[in-house]
Chain length 355, copies 3
């Protein structure tokens, strides 16, 4: 496949809009798929998302404040509740029914605030990713972050689905010898709604950080499991288990375990919000270990941001130009095929509905 | 009326181009309605306005300097007088007749430098606003300013013609309790070339600043008089007179008087120059009082700038989208109807002339 | 000729891409005629220029590093040699033949790195300017620089081919009295591939710097020789020789000699790289003299940059508008006619080839 770089948006899908902890303090403005949105909690504590634009004179609601009845516009004081209905116009008793702003379906679950960007009637909660590790803070203590990146969201999926970049982009941090992993076993495949790959290094010396974390005494079987879930999340599981314990058949045995959740929520065609959660599955009793983990991965995400942003700038000069595929693109090619199929299906449905 | 946010320019109209005091020191560059203009005084001291672009190689005249014969281009030294004629090409005796730049009709009066942006033949000085308070520095000492604002000029007219924003935008400065003014009597109406409203609070306690300024001992009748004069000026008169003196029939009696002149001269479709003059009609003998007045209103104009700029950014995402009217829009709706009528009339005339 | 300000690019031509000294340390990224280019030296030390975009996922090669075999992409480690062929894909033995990036013809000569921006098959080295003064560092010690300027490249040619700007743009540096040179003899003419002019001041007092540099005791004959060579270079020779030595017939006699090489390599339609070399032909044994010369001209180039950038901003408001010619435009008009003829010829050829 020699294909182009950018992908359009899938509309009827759940996107990660915010971490729950981001709504603890008032409201939060964030543009998703070119739409300015204000997230806030209503008086019932329920997360809500409205268009960040007062219907009266167009002022952004993020310029106002959260009050008891909802969010109050900072220009003339209109108040809207979590469903977007205007519940107060100062000085006036009658509220014209058209005084309302667009609301978005929102589901808060497992510390994620998911938002549905398509037709509200199609918002199906069963399609939300179940990331049960956030439900088990004792077993998987985590720390979360968000980095804005000026690049099409699929550049992030490319990045995560092809680890041959480690030795170059991350040469100064986690990269190591770019050719050392050549003997790893690699398998990539499409899934129903995405793609996945796993890499195994059998009977290998554990990295010093693994050894220090869990006290391996001999060689280990190591793996990298990455699953892309369309439109824009990647679930990563890194681990290692003592040689001879049939790690491939039973990956859940004690050993070294690290889970990362990545989500690239599109802001515009050329930018996205990179959300990540890093869950420590190896020294769960040590809060410092989770901080250290976060402190180690954060600089690598900044390295990814740098390369993706210069890559984006170059690709924008001629977005229709074909890229040249090489063998290590196998997993990202599956990911690209999935998102293209889903977008094509959605467009076909919309065309049919419009007839 | 549910209408859109932005208005086009009225071309055949006088606009406030500068305060007289801005021309005291050389020349001044300012873009009006997308046209770059250089204001300067010719050798006769008369204010002039030329296109800020040398006809020779296009250099901005603002990059040059005012000399005895006019304004000298900073690139090759051509000199243009106040009517735009080239009066000197260094080293050459013959000046080709096409060596000239566009000039604009200018009238300097009452400390305003008015500029006519349409057909020069239609420039009618009788249509200039007569703001006689600038003629009476003893009775109305004033201080002037200008703030650049990134917003369509009519956002400023909206802002001034609907004071319900005071309690929100100016909550930290002059706002007070947003619902306290609910009992004010409000009347709004169209005028021949604009719109006006007045608000009265009868038999009310004077605000501390009023009391301190003029020594009221009991309650007062207070008013807010705002008149929009198309295309882009608003004349404001705030005042208060002791109860029982028939203030509504005779507003010119001694008491507290404050006059503000506001003008939103368009720079581009999405920005304007906000000119303002604040005239102290209550402590005329105390220069410090005029400074204090200016110092109090200036921060409120910055608050207006902030809200108008975020409002503009939001509205620009979809300029054709309808706004939802609420009852407090009454005066601004009259203003909008006037400017739309005038623009429509001008366009009809131009279309007819083109036939 | 009343003509417009901007000129399109001539494609089949050599442009100055870099000074040789700029490639001494790794690689150099530079956009020329909207094309991002990476310059570097291959293992043979030969200068090369590739499109600054990896064919794999579009990352800029400038984000990578020069390695023994060529330039290595900083994303996934592909290596390209000076001809643009991929010579290594880490972890893979087979290199698909389409894995290559565009290369540009490059000639390094006389401390210039020339690049051909048109059809490679037409790149003819014999058309490169022969600036032999760079071959004679003892006779013409020089110092070089580059200033990025936001203006169409022909604004620079205009600037150099009309010295009447000296008294205005450079009033604070080298300008002197703008009307003092009126008695100079001036001659301008087209050349086969450009235009040239010379100005002579006969029997004039030498400027203090000339006098100090070469010890003139009486008056001199002074000249300014400027030759434009399309598309974007100007060769300047300033000099002075004692009166009575037939300077006009034999300019190469001992005296004061200064040669500047100027090149305005287009970056975009509205910006260029201003390369310059200043060669000291009067105090060749004193390295300090070359530094002093450079230190004197550098501020004047910044003055030129300032005026050209404000000029460009003004001209961009209406690029199709005609300029008004004056008599001092004679030499620049020849230059404009040449570049227009060459561009027209090139377009006619391309149209014919396309039939």
């Amino acid at each position: 496949m020699n294909d182009t770089a950018f992908e359009p948006f899938l509309r009827n899908a759940w996107y990660l809009g915010a971490w729950s902890e981001e709504l603890s303090d008032g409201h939060l403005g964030r543009t998703i798929m070119n739409e300015p949105i204000v997230f806030f909690r209503g008086p019932d504590g329920k997360a809500a998302a409205l268009e960040d634009r007062c219907c009266h004179r167009g002022a952004p609601l993020t310029h106002g404040q959260v009050v008891e009845a909802g969010i109050e516009c900072g220009y003339h004081g209109l108040i809207f509740n979590g469903s977007g209905a205007c519940v107060d116009i100062p000085g006036h008793d009658n509220i014209p029914p058209q005084t309302k702003v667009r609301s978005y379906p929102v589901v808060e679950r497992q510390e994620f605030v998911w938002i549905w960007m398509g037709e509200a009637a199609r918002a199906d909660e069963s399609k939300i990713i179940d990331f049960q590790f956030h439900d088990q803070p004792d077993k998987w203590p985590n720390k979360k972050g968000m980095i804005p990146i000026k690049s099409n969201y699929m550049m992030m999926i490319d990045n995560l689905m092809d680890l041959t970049h480690l030795g170059y982009v991350h040469a100064k941090t986690i990269g190591g010898n770019p050719r050392a992993h050549a003997k790893a076993e690699f398998d990539a495949m499409p899934t129903e709604n995405g793609a996945r790959f796993d890499r195994w290094m059998m009977d290998a010396a554990p990295p010093p950080t693994y050894k220090k974390a869990v006290g391996f005494e001999g060689n280990v079987d190591r793996w990298w499991d990455f699953e892309y879930v369309a439109p824009s999340s990647v679930l990563q599981w890194n681990g290692a288990i003592d040689v001879g314990k049939n790690a491939r058949e039973n990956q859940d045995q004690p050993g070294f375990h690290l889970r990362l959740f990545h989500s690239a929520t599109p802001e515009t065609e050329g930018s996205f919000h990179y959300f990540f959660s890093a869950a420590n599955g190896y020294q769960q009793d040590d809060p410092e270990a989770t901080e250290v983990l976060f402190g180690e991965i954060f600089p690598t995400f900044i390295e990814d941001k740098e390369i993706m942003e210069v890559q984006q700038a170059r690709l924008e000069l001629d977005p229709g130009r074909k890229l040249v595929a090489i063998p290590s693109d196998k997993a990202l090619t599956h990911a690209r095929q999935t998102i293209r199929r889903l977008v094509a299906e959605e467009r076909a449905e919309m065309a049919q509905a419009a007839e």
